[in-house]
Amino acid sequence: MPEITLVQAVNLALARAMADDPSVLVLGEDVGAEGGVFRATEGLLDRFGADRVLDTPLAEGVIAGMSVGLAAQGFRPVSEIQFTGFIYPTIDQLVNHASRLRTRTRGRLTCPMVMRSPYGAGIRAVEHHSESPEAMFVHVPGLRVVIPSSPARAYGLLLAAIRDPDPVVFLEPTRLYRAAREEVEDNGEALPLDHCFVLREGTDITLITWGAMTKETLAAADRLEVDGVSAEVIDVATLKPLDSDGLLASVAKTGRCVIVHEAPLTGGVGAEIAARIAERGLVSLLAPIERVAGWDTVMPLPRLEQQYLPSEARILAAARRVLAYQ
C-alpha cells in the first residue's frame, strides 16, 4: 500500500468515484490537461476523457450554476474552484439554488454536487489565495461542509461527499497538500459525513480544530504531554452538519476546551462550537472556552502570514490558561 500525500488522496478518490459511477463528472478551470493547479485532477482527462473531465471557461458563477443543472439531471458534478479567494461568485448559486433545490421542489429535483476548493494560508501565495471562508458555508442550510486533514480522511470523506445526495462544499487545506504522506488503501470505502475524528485521546483538555491547524494543534498536544498534560485533539472534519455529540462528549470528559482555527475569530465556526458547548456542556466546563483563531483582519500578504496564522505557541498559551483556570 503506497504512502501518498493529501492531494494524491484527493486524486485517488476522484478517480475511484469516476470509475465506480459514470455519472460523476469533474469540471473547473484547468482541471483537464493541466490536471489542476495543484494536480488534484492529474491524469483524469487521459483516463476518463473530455466528456467527463471538463475545462470550463473562467467563470466561477457558471461553474456553480451549471453544476446545479447537471445535478438536477442526475449527474454528480465535482467542480474545482481554483482557490477559495475565487469562491465568492459561487455563493449566490449555493445559497439560492444548490442548497434549496430539494426543499423548494419538495424532493422532485435534487442537487448531488460537490464543490472542491483548496483553502487556507501558509504557502506564501499571492493575494486572495490564502483565505478560510468555511464559516460562510456552514451558515447555509442544506449544504454540507467537509474539510479533511490527512490523506486517508481526504480519500474517505471525498468519496462520501461525492456519493452524498446533497450539495457539499469540500475544502482542502493547501498547506497540507504535500506536507505528509500516509498509507491510503484505494478500497472505495467512504467515511461518515457527520462524525468528528478523535486524532489523539486525552483526559485533561480538549483541543478542537480542523484543516491545516490540526498540525500546530497536534504539536501543541505533544508539547503539553511533555508537561504531563493529556490533551484530546479532535478534527471536526464535517463542519456541517456538526457532530455536537462527539464534541460534547469529549468536553464532558475533560472539562476544558480550546478551539483552534485559521479563519478570522469573529463569526468563525469556532463560535458555533463554543456556543454549543456553552449551551449544552456548561455543567461540565471547568474553565472558560478559549478560541485561538486568525485575527479579525484581512489575511496579510506572505511576509506577515505566519504571524497571522495561529501558532503552536498561541495554542499552548491558551491551553495553559484554560488548564490553569480554577
Partner: protein
C-alpha cells in the same frame, strides 16, 4: 530565435532588415461582421405580412395557441384578484406578454426542459403544470414547485437570471448522454444585464450545447426602461459576445415566437448549438401586485401598447380567416373560467403543509441536530412544559 530567449540577440541588430514601403492602407480591416434579424408574421392588427409557417395553416394548432394565451391571461386575472383579497402572495402577471410563453412552450417537446423566470406561467401551463400548482407556489407553498408534470422542468426562478447557468448544466447533461433534448431558459430584458446570463451564453457557446435562451423583452425591469438597462440596440446581440446566434422576433406575434423557437430547437436538437431569441413584447400591467407602474411610466405609453397585444392580434386573424366566431369565444371563455375557478377552489381548500416538511426536505436524510430542531418545532408542548 529559441524559446526562452528573453531579448532579441544583440548580434542581429546590425543585420539591417529589408524595408518595405508602407502600403498605406487607409482604414483598418474588418475581421468580423454580424447582423441581427427581426421577424414577424402577423402585424399588430392581425394581418399576415408573410406566408405563415406550416403549423399555422392548421386551425387546431392556432386555436390551441389562442386558448393557451387566453388561459394564461385568465389565470393572471384570477391570481391578481386572489392577491387583492389577501388570498395569494405577491404575484407577477404577464398581461400582454402571453405570446412569449405560449410560443415558446408550444414549440417544445415534452422531454425538453423548461427553466422559467417568474413570469412564464403561460409556458408552465402549456407544459402541464396545473393552475392549482401555480397558485400553491404563488400562495407560498413549496408543493407548487413539486408539479406532477413536467417532472424535470425547473421551478420558477425568482433571483433574476440565475437560472441561465442551470440551463447550461441541463443542456450539457443532454449532450453528454447524447439525448436529443433541449433546455429552454426564459428571462426578462433586465436579466440581460446580469453576469450570470453572459456567463451562461458564453459557456453554452463553448460547448455548443442544446439550449435556447429566450429574452422576454417587455421593455421594463420594474421601473427601469430598456434604454436605461443597456446601450445595446437590440438584446439579441448579446449573443454576439458569446459567439452564438441571436435573433429578434415580434413577441406579440405568437406565430413568430413559435416559428423562431421551432427553428432554434430543431437546430439545437440536431447538434447545431445554442441560440438566443429576443421576443419584443410589452408589460401592460404592473410589475407585480406590489407595484404601481403609474409612478414611473405614463398611461399614454401603456394605452398605445394595447394596440399591439397578442390575444386580439391572433383573434383578429382567426376571425378574418373564418376560423373563429363569437360562439367559439364564448365556449372557450366558459371552459377556461370553469378551469380557473375550480383550480382556485382547490387551492384555497388545500391546507398548509406541516412544519416538519421544512426539516424533512433540507437533506435527504435528517441530520441529528436538525432532528432535534424538528422535534422542538413540532412539539408546542415543549413550550408549554417550559412554562408559557
Amino acid at each position: 530565435m529559441t524559446i526562452g530567449c528573453a531579448m532579441p540577440p544583440l548580434e542581429t541588430i546590425e543585420e539591417q532588415p529589408a524595408i518595405t514601403k508602407p502600403r498605406r492602407l487607409s482604414v483598418p480591416t474588418a475581421v468580423a461582421r454580424f447582423e441581427i434579424r427581426y421577424s414577424r408574421f402577423l402585424d399588430p392588427k392581425g394581418n399576415a405580412e408573410r406566408g405563415l409557417p406550416d403549423f399555422a395553416r392548421d386551425r387546431a394548432e392556432l386555436v390551441a395557441l389562442y386558448r393557451a394565451m387566453v388561459l394564461a391571461r385568465r389565470f393572471d386575472t384570477k391570481a391578481v384578484a386572489l392577491q387583492r383579497t389577501g388570498r395569494l402572495g405577491t404575484f407577477a402577471s404577464a398581461l400582454g406578454q402571453e405570446a412569449v410563453p405560449v410560443g415558446v412552450a408550444s414549440a417544445m417537446r415534452a422531454e425538453d426542459v423548461l427553466l422559467p423566470s417568474f413570469r412564464e406561467h403561460g409556458a408552465q401551463l402549456w407544459r402541464g403544470v396545473s393552475p392549482v400548482e401555480l397558485l400553491l407556489f404563488w400562495g407560498g407553498d413549496e408543493r407548487g414547485s413539486n408539479f406532477a408534470e413536467p417532472r424535470e422542468d425547473f421551478p420558477v426562478c425568482v433571483p433574476v437570471g440565475t437560472h441561465a447557468p442551470h440551463s447550461v448544466g441541463v443542456a450539457l447533461a443532454f449532450k453528454l448522454r447524447q439525448e436529443k433534448r433541449v433546455a429552454v431558459c426564459v428571462f426578462g430584458d433586465g436579466a440581460t444585464s446580469k453576469g450570470d446570463v453572459a456567463e451562461a451564453l458564453n459557456a453554452a457557446g463553448v460547448w455548443q450545447l442544446p439550449v435556447v435562451f429566450v429574452i422576454n423583452n417587455n421593455r421594463w425591469a420594474i421601473s427601469v426602461p430598456l434604454a436605461h438597462q443597456t446601450a445595446a440596440e437590440t438584446l439579441a446581440q448579446k449573443a454576439i459576445a458569446a459567439g452564438i446566434e441571436g435573433e429578434q422576433v415580434d413577441g406579440n406575434d405568437v406565430i413568430a415566437v413559435r416559428e423562431a423557437m421551432s427553428r432554434a430547437l430543431g437546430k439545437a436538437r440536431a447538434g447545431g448549438g445554442p441560440h438566443l431569441i429576443e421576443a419584443l413584447t410589452y408589460r401592460l400591467g404592473d410589475h407585480t401586485t406590489a407595484d404601481d407602474a403609474s409612478r414611473y411610466r405614463s398611461g399614454s405609453e401603456v394605452s398605445a401598447r394595447w394596440a399591439e397585444e397578442p390575444i386580439a392580434r391572433l383573434r383578429n386573424y382567426l376571425v378574418a380567416e373564418g376560423m373563429w366566431g363569437k360562439a367559439d369565444e364564448e365556449r372557450l371563455l366558459a371552459e377556461i373560467t370553469l378551469t380557473i375557478e375550480r383550480a382556485a377552489e382547490t387551492y384555497l381548500a388545500t391546507p398548509p403543509q406541516g412544519i416538519e416538511t421544512i426539516f424533512d426536505f433540507t437533506y435527504q436524510t435528517l441530520p441529528k441536530d436538525l432532528a432535534e430542531q424538528r422535534q422542538a418545532a413540532l412539539d408546542p408542548m415543549a413550550l408549554e412544559r417550559a412554562g408559557k
